[in-house]
Amino acid sequence: MTKFSAFNVARNAFSASKSWPKQWRNPEPRASYDAVIIGGGGHGLGTAYYLAKEHGLTKIAVVEKGWIGGGNTGRNTTIIRSNYLYDESAGIYEHSVKLWEKLSQELNYNVMYSPRGVLMLAHNVHDVQSSMRHVYADRLNGVDNEWLSPEECKAFCPPLNISNNIRYPVMGGALQRRGGVARHDAVAWGYARGADRLGVDIIQNCEVLRIDRDAAGTVSGIETTRGYIKTAKVGVVAAGHTSVVMERAGLRMPLESFPLQALVSEPIKPIFPCVVMSNTVHAYISQSDKGELVIGAGTDQYISYSQQGGLHIAAHTLEAICELFPQFRRMRMLRNWGGIVDTTYDRSPILSKTSIPGLYVNCGWGTGGFKATPGSAHVFAASMANDEMHPIAAPFSLNRFQSGRLIDEAAAAVAH
């Protein structure tokens, strides 16, 4: 394993980069593993990484139906923030932000975490009340979040239109300065490289056909398109396809999978310094290091695995963008795509044991999974290793759907 560093980049430059090794192997699956993670996105690869790194498991596989990082990890708008309302949410997202802050060094892979600030706009009195509630709750939870007047919003994000000539003028915004963006692909690749280095087998193009139990009802193995794998621990981290995978263990889930669209503009010189979100007019925008405006659109209303949504969803988002940033009306959409987001009733994730001993599930991140990647992976790995949900993960158990102890960030008016 060649360490990634400026020195090695320079050294390789003069050998035509001939000595860079594979970032991860492409192994054949072994007959058995101590633990198998189903799903090679950021959360799954991260779970494998932390299982190997922090919990001493040595025989771990990640099985991925397609290619790693090809699902929502590689399709999202890369927003990172932790300014959630409820203690449970702030707990897991803040845990995640703290890991983001050191992730490039941890993985020796530049994931380009860029804490450029996430500004969430308020457009009516109710928004203001809700924003203030978040700001105060975050402050007491040790999460940075501050209220800005419209003029302060404009100073922080100069392209923003704060005039009264729009349908829902900006009444202020809540800013989390430590929020920002990262390079989504690098997260998957960085965890994959790190996990591979610790001996994890990353097995791509391998679809799980069945999850088996032994006579005692405990997980015993999985049938895959690349052969049978014996294992006593399975973590399902399959995002939009979680219901499909869990059905192969005979279980139903409290999930629905919807198309979520995003789009980018043509690249331009730096003009947009931060991330701006508006839940009221449905606009989420930042600028990538490559120069593209990265814009998140909404979900379509029906369940779909097509990774494709309707024109009206993207168009509505661009209406909102053009309201808030009328100078971008002449910008051009370069690419519009869809992901599949698995959503729960309360729009909070599920990290849980299941009725099958040895089977764990991490899903339901809806539109907000990317930001949680390191934190989710970290506490899920601990939960799997110890067969006991990590305290940060525990509130997100499936139990809550029976007890009614929902964590309803959406109902509290601010989601995403």
């Binding site: 980049v9 990082g69 707990g91 924003s131 690249p267 309707g310 009614g404 929902l406 959406a410």
Partner: protein, 1005 residues
Amino acid sequence: MSHANRLAGRGRIDRSKPIIIQFNGREVPAYHGDTAASALIANGILHVGRSFKYHRPRGVLAAGAEEPNALLDIDRGNGRRDPNNRATVVEAFDGLVTRSQNHWPSLKYDVGTLNDMASPLFSAGFYYKTFMWPSAAWKRVYEPVIRRAAGLGKAPTVPDPDRYVHSHAHCDVLISGAGPAGLAAALAASVDGSRRIIIADEQNEFGGTLLHDLTSTIDGLSASDWVAQTVATLSQRSNVRMLPRTTVVAYYNHNHIALNQRLTDHQSNPSKGMARERLWQVRAGEVIAATGAHERPLVFAGNDRPGMLLADSLRAFINRYGVTPGRNVVIATSGASAYQAAIDAKSAGLFVTIVDYRKRDEIGDERLLATQAGIEILDNHSVIGSTGRTQVTGLIVAPKTASGGVGDVRTLNCDAVGMSGGWTPVVHLVSQSRAKLVFDTALDAFIPGEAYQSERSAGACRGVYALDECLANGHEAGSGAGAAPSAKSSEATGFEPVRLMPTNRQKLRDKAFVDFQNDVTAKDINLAVQEGFQSIEHVKRYTTTGMATDQGKTSNINALGIVAGALELTPPDVGTTTFRPPYTPTTFGAFAGQARGVLFDPERITPMHDWAVKKGAKFEDVALWKRAWYFPQGRETMHDAVQRECRAVRESVGIFDATTLGKIEVVGPDAAEFLNRIYTNSWLKLKPGRCRYGLMLKEDGYIMDDGVVARVADDRFHITTTTGGAPRVLGHMEDYLQTEFTDLKLSLTSTTEQWAVIAVQGPNARDVVAPLVSDIDMSNDAFPHMSMREGKVCGVPCRLFRVSFTGEAGYEINVPSDYGEAVWEAVYAAGQPYDITPYGTETMHVLRAEKGFIIVGQETDGTVTPEDVGLSGLVSKVKADFVGKRSLARPDLVAEGRKQLVGLLTLDPDVLLDEGAQIVDDPQAALPMPMLGHVTSSYVSPNVARGGTGDPQQSGDGRSIAMAMIAGGHSRVGTRLYATTREGFTEVQVTKPVFFDPDGGRANV
């Protein structure tokens, strides 16, 4: 210099209409019919831009939409400036201002070229491997530098003055592309006059490749005459809609297609008010893709110098625009099609040499044609390099050897190069429709497989290249013969796929470009494979190949081929990336259309809106409604206005527009039973003429909405809902009525827009209203609080509610909306002796908070039960079932310590809490600090005595009040807690959430 590179007697440009465009401040003479690209080439301006990463000098590569290099900043005046325009599709007009991009300080001298020198450092993915230390430096140092270096042009900085519109259409056949196949399809499809046909083409003229075809004949006509005749025929058919300058940009589900029509970009002085672009949304019975093919460049070191074009694009410039980048042309090719470019160049009087990768015996009849034209052919040759800086000066070629290497190198002096590495069918549309693409080895290309939606492909986009076959193919598709397109019928164009031209050079800085704009080289792609990136999606993301503004139109197959070669797989085994919409970059404005300002979302206004505007009201947005927020007088602040309004209602009488409350008429024999199941409380025994406050839950047990309901008759109820909740409540009720409670007979009708509602509240309310009312006994006994009477007000039929959201005696006068303003004015006039005061939503909020009345959505947030807000009395204990009842019994909903509604009084009455402030027990506790709940409502009340509970006799005194949801709140009444403030914390007293008239006597007077 002017028109130095213009060729005499050629082209479709209008030489009688000279125009002048600007490039980097320099005047460039051109003709009507030129594109920016052809105008620049005509004047010898070949170096028109800098590449993304290495800032290499670049010129025009293509003649059409696939152009990766020649991106210009275009300024059409008055703020109409935008970057990244492909010079090849920008129509020139007099006064057009263009600028090159991505260089500093100038196009000629660009410090960014240092990247080119240091290029070995910037191999694929280099940024993932470095810039990690120290950790704070990424954000502060590295990232800003990288960001500045990246990006292409500069974003517009002023609001776009242009307008964009949408049109919707249905048709039987939508044809994308008006080249030979598309035109033939349109001719065939439109014979039946009952079929509605739309044919769209991205160019200003129909004809496609026929526009630069000077040698072919169709039906005995020259290509250009056939196009003219066909266009004339089609334009006479009333069932055909022809859309030039219209790109079919996206193909969605259920044959929903988006087309973007550019209306004014080609005009010097578009008429005022004319929309710039029109987005068509077409629901097509069938789509025929006749989208053609893109030529591929050859991949060799230095294949990117200005003056080096795709061969057929060079031909298009020569034939269609009468321009050439140089007089000494080398055509480098691995296939037959480029020979026509060579022949046309020769006939235009240029010196031409052909370098053919293929062995002599692999070259077909084209050889003879070229030889007859007097063109020298170097067969079995590789291209291994080029010379020149801002324009190519030579092409370095060498014969291939049997061992796969190359022989003696020679340099062909030239000032223009046409490259051809074969053709890539434009399968974007059918890929967007989710048709599978199949790889055709002979064509070395993906072509459409089985159709997924109702679509067909015709012509070059399905690998049919010969003109006669394109026409036949188009005709077949247009006439609907043959259910699915048959397999391609024509021979490949005699072309031999070559991934990377054989070479003997291994220089570190040599760059054989695959993706020109993103500066992705063959080396980069091989490095990605070496590092384990094997899926084409991985390679694409790691190297960024195919992700530039051209989305890989000229590069995808070359990249795929190189990956396949490195992995010793076939291209389809490596996979093809999915084509995402739009086909070419499309303005945000086109998608947004007219939706701006008041057209972004409908504005709902009440019949009394204009009156409020005249009175100087300030408005707030509540859902789609504009609601009068407060009525400032003179220079009054919001605070002062609200305090005045609040006092007026308590002391005399106020008038308030309550029209926005949702209203639903529930009618039918089972109406009462239905409400019994929908609301938590009981309705069967409510008498006609009486009102009851109703609480409604979602099935999850949490409060959904509330409002006063009046029983109008045994079988008729008048329901009110919250302003924002009205559509949701109606939908909720309809859902249960239609799908669960199907045993019940009743109907639901939204009457929100039918009734104007005038609230008159205050001790003098009756005195104001009564004189206007007829047919109703207004006495307190005959018409008590919480009742409703039908009668007339000002002679207008009304439903008069005696209800109160203020705690005062009062009425809500419901009259048909058309009478709303008139009755309002009459009430206002009648109230003058009592100084009747119009008040807005803010005062309404304060008054109800004084009384401890909740607002759903403010005190509640979707996680609150009736018990939580002290309304358990409204939850029937006797009803067996109602929506949400079962959920109320779940463990967490009956758990101890839930948040409950309380009042809060700050110890300092002048301190106003923020709504949203958090409540804690111990402000000294360490973070994360345990929180008990939050402030839901907070106001300055003029009616509550400074010491505490309101006493009307002391009104004018005033203090802050607040409502809050606090864990175990009911049991904390009387204790002290702390609330967050901007600066820190302030101490608060927990009280019952009623600050004024706790016995509620005032409403009953």
